[in-house]
Symmetry: C2
Subunit: 338 residues, 2 copies
DNA sequence: ATTTAGCACTCTTCCCTTTTGACTGCTAAT
DNA sequence: ATTAGCAGTCAAAAGGGAAGAGTGCTAAAT
């Protein structure tokens, strides 16, 4: 075997071994593990080279090798493309999609929990969000004399509600009439289209359509759908978190204002899965972690995000392959819905 | 001062000192802190007595005192009744309630976060839930030829949605008519009342009202509203959690199936605030913690729960007084809404 | 009957040293 | 290019005071 090849093998073994054990990998462990027909001394020469090239570091002068960000990056690039989820797990995921999808929220939570157990890490899924919301239906319900509830139904069965105060007492009858009228006028329109189509409306109707447009605009402005988070316990029970301050950093991030943005700040590539390793991430609290994100949905229509958050030492193969499989399945579901 | 009185004072000082420092309390610290005109030796006699009575334990033979569950229980009983939140904080809370309450969910989250920061612990608030939901309004929106979305609006502006499949193609016009008809028939009714009032309905209408009743029944069956959880980072950054397995226990509990029930399993007393200390709690994962819960709302109408979860060593005075204040304010809000 | 001073005793914590075992780095031979 | 062998390095574990904090007990004082 050529030296170059063996060195790559050694690096791969180091990475995979470290991923499963979380312990610096010794040269004889490498020989024992992969059954290479060379002596540990040879491996040591190789790891020395790998260290020089920045693929591994060691905690101290006489310790085994631990992979650097660069090594993980190399590893991820090398596996990308030819990763497939084991059949059993593919099957389970498919099964999951055949089962009732009654309540989207509950369903996404379940999926997130399942994935979290699969990859043994924290999983975030955001509900699908339309790029440009279109109005489908509205409804007005009298709450008190001057106050009523505006219920807006958007395509994809998304519901928003808003309380409206009128200047005069408006009966439920009147409200129903206005709701029907406005629904028939605006059905299928976007927020801006609604604003552009105001002629011939009564003062109250104008107020309603104003509020409607605002609601839709607010919805459009959101970058993400509702996030569902599962598997925090799995992430935080990883050995790298016991004792250190890293855990609190994560908790603080997760309870912070818009953590979704700081996590998913990176642009997405093609349709595929993105991997952000350690310090590649601009967010300091995440620089000891890796992030694997995929987008599902129909491009330029509606989409959501699925992300796995784990230590840099994570099972990239499993995470990437599950995400590939899951985003495909979710995309199908969304496509059907639209 | 009588001996009995002094011993109570000593116990109180031990508890309060331990609450703030999390360190076993030494006899001379007690003298220094409270300025009692006796020597440490006297205090030692007192703590020996308290230990015998089961109010304090010590980590080892020559360590200071730490309060037992029993001590905390005594302490809580002794303060109950005459705790008032400092004016500044009362003011802040009141302010919070004057500010816009646009979106209930967002609002409760904010309140929970505020309270969490106040008591430096984990806070759970559940949204108010009616004991017996009453129907207010429904709406039907065509999704596909045979499929439509049933939107149910309950009193308290609560919205539920459900997908319905008919046996034939139903137009939006028809749907609207049915929605109006059913709304006018059922407005104000409970689930069982709706089921009892089926005569004169078309087959589709019966199907809808069936589904409506189920939705309401499902809502009635829920024990709690939607939970909002804030301050996990505050709880887990308490010194008792660094390193130990306690943290993971909590995370597991919180990600478990129906943790709300296991937390709030205890019956509530009068309208007041309940305190469950350590092993008083049947749930093993919570036996190192204390739980302070209050119910807000209008009895037999609609109510929700506010809970503070912290180490046994927590600021009971602040927690109880904030909860008293908060539940009163929330109850007012709910009363207005009904 | 309480309270107190004094002192011996206990136990943790901190720091230092030693030992052990796991690995590597290097060198010289293959 | 590879390997055996061995010296060197380092972390983690184990041991051993020494210091410090704090109590328990006893005998005397109030």
């Amino acid at each position: 075997m050529a030296v170059r090849d063996r060195r790559e093998t050694v690096l791969r073994v180091i990475i995979e071994e470290y991923i499963t054990t979380a312990v610096p990998v010794a040269s004889n462990a490498i020989v024992a593990k992969h059954g290479l027909r060379v002596s540990p001394a040879t491996i040591r020469n190789d790891t020395a080279y790998l260290e020089q090239e920045g693929y591994v570091v060691r905690p101290h002068r006489s310790a085994g090798s631990v992979p650097t960000d660069r090594a993980y990056r190399y590893y991820v690039e090398s596996i990308e493309g030819d990763v497939e989820l084991p059949y059993v797990e593919q099957y389970l995921l498919h099964r999951m999609f055949q089962d009732a999808q009654e309540e989207l929220e509950q369903w996404l939570k379940t999926v997130a929990g399942f994935l979290a157990d699969l990859v043994h890490n924290l999983v975030v899924i955001t509900s699908p969000k339309a790029v440009r919301c279109r109005f489908k239906h509205l409804d007005l319900v009298a709450l008190q004399d001057f106050v009523s509830l505006l219920v807006v139904i958007l395509y994809e069965a998304k519901i928003r509600r808003q309380v409206l105060s009128f200047n005069r007492k408006v009966s439920q009858d009147e409200l129903t009439k206005m709701a029907n009228r406005l629904t028939s006028i605006y059905e299928g329109m976007t927020g801006t289209e609604i604003l552009a189509r105001q002629e011939g409306l009564s003062s109250e109707e104008r107020q309603i359509s104003q509020c409607l447009a605002e609601t839709i605009a607010a919805e459009d402005k959101l970058e993400f759908g509702e996030p569902y988070l599962e598997g925090l316990r799995l992430l935080l029970s990883q050995p790298e978190f016991t004792g250190g301050p890293g855990m609190l950093q994560i908790l603080e991030l997760l309870e912070g204002e818009d953590w979704l943005r700081s996590i998913f700040s990176q642009e997405f590539g093609r349709g595929g899965v993105r991997v952000v390793i350690g310090e590649e991430n601009p967010e300091p609290a995440l620089q000891d972690l890796s992030l694997i994100t995929g987008r599902y949905g129909v491009p330029d229509k509606a989409s959501g995000i699925v992300g796995v958050i784990g230590p840099k030492r994570m099972d990239y193969v499993k995470a990437i392959s599950s995400l590939n499989c899951l985003t495909a399945l979710l995309s199908n579901s969304v496509a059907e819905y639209i």
